[in-house]
């Protein structure tokens, strides 16, 4: 019996590891969300302020809940922007803020983007914030950097500062956060394609291409 004991012990541990791994995988497997029709926003003819990149009439909508201080969001921003160009005029990007509490300056960055948006330069600030994420994320006073980005984008700096502190930008961020909460979105980047959430492992350039192509097959292309 003693001869076989190490084999039995190793076998039991192997089975226990595989079993607990499988159970953990089942528990952690993402349950993909769907935006119900009554909560979907087309982006056209709505009173709600949303930020759209690409053709507003595009048949496919990529909705992203993002956080400017989230590193994976920074990575995704680069290829999502490329996809919008690649699929023009069939794809539009809608970006919504979801500054996570674990990111110290994410909320302030979202306010900076919204303040720039009030001067019509939302996407320019969005791009700068992601591009410079590594810099302002580690700064002691990121507000100074946000001001310098505003200056670089040719914004009226006094107005930008007022807007960042004002209620309108805050309201826009809060409305996005409320929307995320109502949909059950908890992490960033959370991406929906035509109201269907994309699985975390599919949030790659090729994964998104496959989803967009499938969505285009369901809806007629503009090309």
């Amino acid at each position: 019996m003693k001869r076989y004991l190490p084999f039995i012990i190793v076998g039991i541990v192997a089975l226990a590891t595989l079993g607990s791994g499988a159970l953990l995988y089942q528990a952690k497997r993402p349950h993909l969300l769907t935006i119900p029709a009554n909560k979907a926003v087309s982006g056209k003819g709505t009173a709600e302020s949303i930020h759209i990149r690409g053709n507003p009439d595009a048949p496919v909508t990529l909705l992203e809940f993002g956080d400017f201080q989230c590193p994976p969001c920074g990575g995704a921003a680069v290829f999502i922007d490329q996809l919008v160009k690649e699929y023009h005029p069939n794809l539009k990007l809608v970006f919504r803020n979801l500054p996570l509490p674990v990111h110290k300056y994410a909320r302030e960055a979202a306010l900076a983007a919204e303040a720039a948006g009030l001067q019509g330069r939302y996407w320019e600030m969005h791009d700068v914030l992601y591009r410079e994420q590594a810099v302002w994320s580690k700064a002691d006073n990121p507000r100074e950097l946000f001001d310098s980005y505003a200056g670089m984008l040719g914004l009226n700096l006094n107005q930008f500062k007022k807007d960042m502190a004002g209620g309108k930008a805050r309201q826009r961020v809060e409305s996005d956060v409320e929307r995320a909460n109502s949909l059950g979105v908890r992490s960033t980047p959370t991406v929906f394609i035509n109201d269907q959430e994309v699985a975390p492992n599919e949030k790659t350039p090729n994964g998104l291409r496959a989803k967009i192509d499938a969505a285009l097959k369901q809806k007629p292309s503009k090309a």
Binding site: V13, G21, L24, Y25, T188, P200
Partner: protein, 142 residues
Amino acid sequence: MNVPRFRVALYAVAAIVSLAGLADATYLTVQALTGETLTCGGSPDCFRVLGSSYARIAGMPVAAFGCLAYFSVFSLATFAAFAYRRAAALLTLLVGAMFLVTLWLLYVQAFVLHAYCRYCLFSAAITFLLAGLMIAIPPSRA
């Protein structure tokens, strides 16, 4: 203390310690497979490390290799405790290799990513402990 018995005790401790590493690596592997490491929602530093390109080798999560390594350590330590001599030699080699890989991963966290993931640090501590145990095990008299 009787030396063979001391050796057996140390191999048993190594096997038990490796189970902690196995649990940690299994958790990280599941996180990587579910795609949780590609999103932010928990510790930002963990996501900076686990979501980086250094967390995968040829598309496979590094944590999966960790699982394999810790399971091998457990198996070899168990066999060594039952006086399988070849297992003892292989265990020393494996722990030595894991020690070097751990040093590399710590370097990446400290100087490349400038972020530390507590699960990775826990794994590093386990590997250092295993390396210490390998040094503490007296050589076989045979």
